[in-house]
Symmetry: C2
Subunit: 317 residues, 2 copies
């Protein structure tokens, strides 16, 4: 069998290949296609590496492509100058199994996480909502803000215990750095924290607001109190993931939230379920991160490379 040259997109090449605007369109489409049964996504598997962190193997299939993301969560890494999230996306041809492209997983993850914030906000926030409160201005927070900005939201408030990080992002976007309390007063609140302790309590909720909970992604982590979660009109990316390692986990375990109270985003986007109940509803979207979102980004990157819009390294396998 002949060896094959496979294109490889590093961190910067992924971001050059797929704009936030395209990421938003592709991620939205992925949710609809998955909802309709056209895209497949077996449950992810975890490989624990105690006490340091874990790896996740996340497969998805759609549009003739098969994807596997091999990605980490090593929370102690930043203290050592290493990223929390790193890894590799393998994109293959679903009709013959041949590898088509390798991509840096960190940039794909950041872009698809940011994109879903914009997709959920467009689907669930009040149509007149514009101001954004960003709580947590790390890599994923920055991409959520960038995607919200290109989707027409903002200006916003950037809040982060690391004042210089909040300031830098605010400056990039023409937004403002301010304390948590100011971020919580905006129309769209995005939480992108590690989830070590809640940043949203029931008393912070106001009629008509929309919350995206993008951070806490594992057992025992939460960005909102059970009381706050239980007070909202609830949406998630996927019930199974959300209930086992998402923002809803604590509320479900406490018996405060049941399955029938939670609507999957894909159902809303496909027109199968209603979104926001009215202008005064308080909507909360729990994002746990799906492999179909990664496939949306990787598919766009592959097309950009085939169109000659981005250069790739190549590697022989």
């Amino acid at each position: 069998m002949a060896s094959r040259q496979i294109p490889v997109l590093d961190h910067d090449a992924v971001l050059a290949a797929v704009s936030p605007t395209e990421a938003i369109d592709r991620v939205r489409d992925a949710f609809v296609r998955h909802r309709r049964g056209e895209w497949a996504m077996p449950p992810k598997i975890y490989l624990d590496c105690p006490p340091h962190g874990d790896f996740r193997a996340m497969p998805a299939r759609g549009d003739g492509l098969a994807l596997l993301k091999w990605v980490t969560s090593f929370p102690g890494n930043p203290a050592r100058g290493l990223p929390t999230v790193t890894g590799i996306v393998c994109l293959s041809d679903a009709t013959d199994g041949e590898p088509l492209m390798l991509l840096d997983a960190r940039s794909v993850t950041a872009l698809r996480t940011g994109a879903v914030a914009a997709v959920a906000t467009r689907a669930l926030a009040r149509s007149d909502a514009r101001s954004v409160g960003l709580i947590g201005c790390g890599l994923h927070g920055a991409w959520a803000a960038r995607c919200l900005a290109v989707a027409g939201y903002g200006p916003g408030i950037c809040a982060d215990p690391r004042a210089e990080v909040a300031r830098a992002l605010a400056q990039e976007l023409g937004w403002e750095a301010a304390p948590l309390s100011a971020a919580l007063r905006q129309e769209v609140v995005c939480c992108v924290t590690p989830g070590a302790e809640p940043v949203v309590e029931a008393g912070d909720l106001r009629a008509g607001m929309h919350l995206n909970m993008l951070g806490a992604d594992g057992a025992g982590k939460a960005e909102a109190t059970v009381g706050a979660v239980a007070s909202c009109h609830l949406f998630c990316d996927e019930w199974e993931q959300a209930v086992h390692g998402g923002e809803l986990t604590g509320a479900v375990r406490a018996g405060a939230v049941h399955r029938e109270r939670v609507t999957e985003l894909g159902a809303v986007l496909a027109g199968d379920a209603p979104g926001r109940a009215g202008p005064e509803a308080i909507t909360l979207f729990d994002s746990t991160g799906l492999a179909i979102q990664d496939l949306a980004i990787a598919g766009a990157a592959l097309q950009a490379w085939r169109d000659g819009a981005v250069d790739a390294q190549t590697v022989q396998l």
Copy 2:
């Protein structure tokens, strides 16, 4: 965060990095380490791509390394000039998640599949067994034969419906190409067929023989009849995999084999369970293929590269 240069081993580089002798030693050690709980291996996940084939995501951890193999089984591929098995092995640091190496999955899979044939034969065949009957002389059959040869077995009989394929392998090893019936008369019989129909029936069994069943790896596939399987002293690589998509599946479903009749190879190698009951026993080893075997090979390849024993391409992520 700085980009990293990651070494990549293609098909030939993997085979240059890890000799059959080292593969056998490493794979044997992997079974023992896994048995002792030092290596971890969550269940593999399948991504079906009907009607063409499927992908498997196979994780494992051990010796400070974390591995994910993203590998295909597309049985119709050879008719199109493409390999049935292809894909990528991602090897990462289990302490910080950083990618360490990418490897061609086809060569890793062939080498570890061949190696386990030698490991199981040494552990389970009669100590005076030497002659080999190889049934199925494709890629994995060839590597099983090569590993058995370096482990001191042979000469043998190469049987394959494709006479020229059997002849070429026999010539390489100084063995003989002959019909299936001749292969079945040898002391160690290795079946490495697609499993579309059984090649071993109960009437083919003779006292003292050892069988390695390396082929059939999915539901509905089998290389031996239920009657033949039920007549043997049974061993497997992992019960869960063997009962769901291995040679034992049919016999278990028919009620002819129960869990307590089957011993895992790791238990024998670790000294926790007896192997062959005596010189007249008929032993059968069902190999379904484990991610710990892939980790054994990938770990050896990484060390070879670090030792400067093999050149690698590099790619930036």
